[in-house]
Chain length 96, copies 10
Amino acid sequence: MLFQVRMDVSIPAHLSETEVNDLKNREKALAQQLQQSGKWRHLWRIAGQYANTSIFDVASNEELHNLLLSLPLYPFMQIEVTPLCRHPSSIHDDDR
Amino acid sequence: MLFQVRMDVSIPAHLSETEVNDLKNREKALAQQLQQSGKWRHLWRIAGQYANTSIFDVASNEELHNLLLSLPLYPFMQIEVTPLCRHPSSIHDDDR
Amino acid sequence: MLFQVRMDVSIPAHLSETEVNDLKNREKALAQQLQQSGKWRHLWRIAGQYANTSIFDVASNEELHNLLLSLPLYPFMQIEVTPLCRHPSSIHDDDR
Amino acid sequence: MLFQVRMDVSIPAHLSETEVNDLKNREKALAQQLQQSGKWRHLWRIAGQYANTSIFDVASNEELHNLLLSLPLYPFMQIEVTPLCRHPSSIHDDDR
Amino acid sequence: MLFQVRMDVSIPAHLSETEVNDLKNREKALAQQLQQSGKWRHLWRIAGQYANTSIFDVASNEELHNLLLSLPLYPFMQIEVTPLCRHPSSIHDDDR
Amino acid sequence: MLFQVRMDVSIPAHLSETEVNDLKNREKALAQQLQQSGKWRHLWRIAGQYANTSIFDVASNEELHNLLLSLPLYPFMQIEVTPLCRHPSSIHDDDR
Amino acid sequence: MLFQVRMDVSIPAHLSETEVNDLKNREKALAQQLQQSGKWRHLWRIAGQYANTSIFDVASNEELHNLLLSLPLYPFMQIEVTPLCRHPSSIHDDDR
Amino acid sequence: MLFQVRMDVSIPAHLSETEVNDLKNREKALAQQLQQSGKWRHLWRIAGQYANTSIFDVASNEELHNLLLSLPLYPFMQIEVTPLCRHPSSIHDDDR
Amino acid sequence: MLFQVRMDVSIPAHLSETEVNDLKNREKALAQQLQQSGKWRHLWRIAGQYANTSIFDVASNEELHNLLLSLPLYPFMQIEVTPLCRHPSSIHDDDR
Amino acid sequence: MLFQVRMDVSIPAHLSETEVNDLKNREKALAQQLQQSGKWRHLWRIAGQYANTSIFDVASNEELHNLLLSLPLYPFMQIEVTPLCRHPSSIHDDDR
């Protein structure tokens, strides 16, 4: 089941550079792991913004919620979730 | 180059059923043609809405504009365009 | 899987009273049928508005979309879909 | 009498981990107590957000206000209250 | 129990003058009847707007909803309902 | 002359408990004094919010401004002022 | 007493040219009469818009409301009223 | 050339009382000087808010920008600029 | 003096094709004439929208207003005007 | 390919004057370098605001993103990106 998720990141100024780099590295590692697993199907950067738009392929709302909660940058994100489903004009079978 | 495009469709009441069906058929035909060409990379239905979120892969803003303008339902659409680019954490090469 | 759905209804003036009553009767019949099936778990009226807030229990986004699309009043609705999941503090087992 | 209440939680960074955990534990205890009493009829997590949507069953606006005010996390919540009433198409008797 | 209700009225152009006057007369008669009953406690005009802000004193959300629904101008109103309760600094006993 | 005033209060975290209690006590004292004088005609709590909706009865915009400015919690308030006047359907003579 | 009033005008397409010209002429005549009386102290066009921002000098909200209601274009206006008062830094005595 | 400018002031808590008073005094002095020069034609307080609405009479956008930038409170202001021009119904010659 | 102007065009359905084409031809002719005169310095299409963003170089707000008012499509436009001035980091002399 | 970019700058209070001046100098140097290269085609100040509206001429979304990211003030900017393309009524050849 597909969900579009927009994540706007804003890291507060009081975190040290080391803390921020650590957060970003752990975020990247987990994001890539989730992409390899197919859960995080697409991840694009929104041009000009510290934000991304992503497509998640999960079994339920619950799974989506827990995945997002597990992201190291989650506490510094504003998140918008849009449930998707297959479009009648889509030619792709797996965009169910 | 990738763009995310949200299209909210609202067809005015004064069009006849025949006109509406004709519009929808021509829209579907063109949408599928553009998907086969790779220009319209992804097309998903937003659950509960007469709207879709799509990913276009085009060479320029100009090409995107002309593609959207060519859609039969264009006059009845509210369109939001978000330019995307490759995310540093993306594992996909072709999400350039 | 649970979704909260808000439906704001606005029926255009050009429909005749007979057409409107027919729409409303068919809407009520389908809504009650879906409630009996457990798909439409809760349906409440928003005080002062021609709107409702509902909880749907469905297997996927797709199923939710098709249910909403099947509602006779769908063409006259503004719909907002919010995906829900079980709250860690909930005491209800079936609010999965 | 039913009210829908949306609570968006945002805990300021200056609180220590101990303080935050204490707040969350006391919040969970009270939330479960209120659910057992029937006052807090439904509590769902909004997928992807540190927010919930709930249904309260109370005797008056006053009672609702005092209940919300008593929540340990109340000072860190943005709250939206929507008064509900029974929908003419509802099949549930107790959704008065 | 008190509710603040804002009503913004917009009467469509296609109604005849007779129909509009009839609506307004019936609206005024019912509004005054409800004020005499104490249900409609306060009714003020918002300066410069075809809108009012009112205070209703009712036993439940249900009663409020049915009262508003009974207003002849209801189909042409945008309504906002805000549940109120007694303020701890209020000196009025009956503003419960 | 009547004005509706909505006051949303948000007290910053850096104030000590003593300072906050002092502010609240002085606020309550002045609010009750103004109510006794008839200037602050109605004061209701908005259910679920640290906010109130009030009706002021003053001789001019100037007087309203100075009253609001004199409130101890003024610096921590977001204020919305709506000028009111007598509604043609009002049965109350003194709602001039 | 001063009020700032913004008026955005939007005349529906179904009115004939004669009706529109008649409305505009009557509007201009009344506006100039009110300016001569000092009630309508300032009237400026908002560049690029069919809208104006004005300063009214009236004795009460009531008087303002009745003046605005008397404008021939009132039914086609979206109106925003902002109550003003003398600024402590103003050097003008009559901007009370 | 006339511009309407709305200035909403919000002074951060970390400034000392001395600093704030100094800012306010310098702001008042400059505001009065600009009013005497005719540049700052009108300055009104928005009732209930730490905000003003003003009319500036300047030769260009550039001059307006530099004037606003020179205000001691500028760094703590949210500013909205609306270009004005003479209204065809205005009876004032100098409201060019 | 420079102004940024955004024009969103929405032509009502009741106009005939001939009327619409005539409007568009006259609009194009005037727009090109104004560009040749230097008044309309830049005109760009917003990708995906029936809208443009333009830079006007005019002597006053008045001149801008009259130019916009003269556009055949003006009655069907939503217009947003933003006054600009030279940026201290600009390397262009004529972007005064 | 052209993009319109609006940048609203807000520098947090905790930065020292030296840090702020250094940021601004580096920002100006890079902005002028990018203008000389033709990438940053237009840069205008929005009158009354610490904001600019700019036109970038770049080969792709990616290039735009990296340019914006390289700006020293980027972390303190709210950025809005609008993709542009040549307007059919434009007389300029290079506004492709």
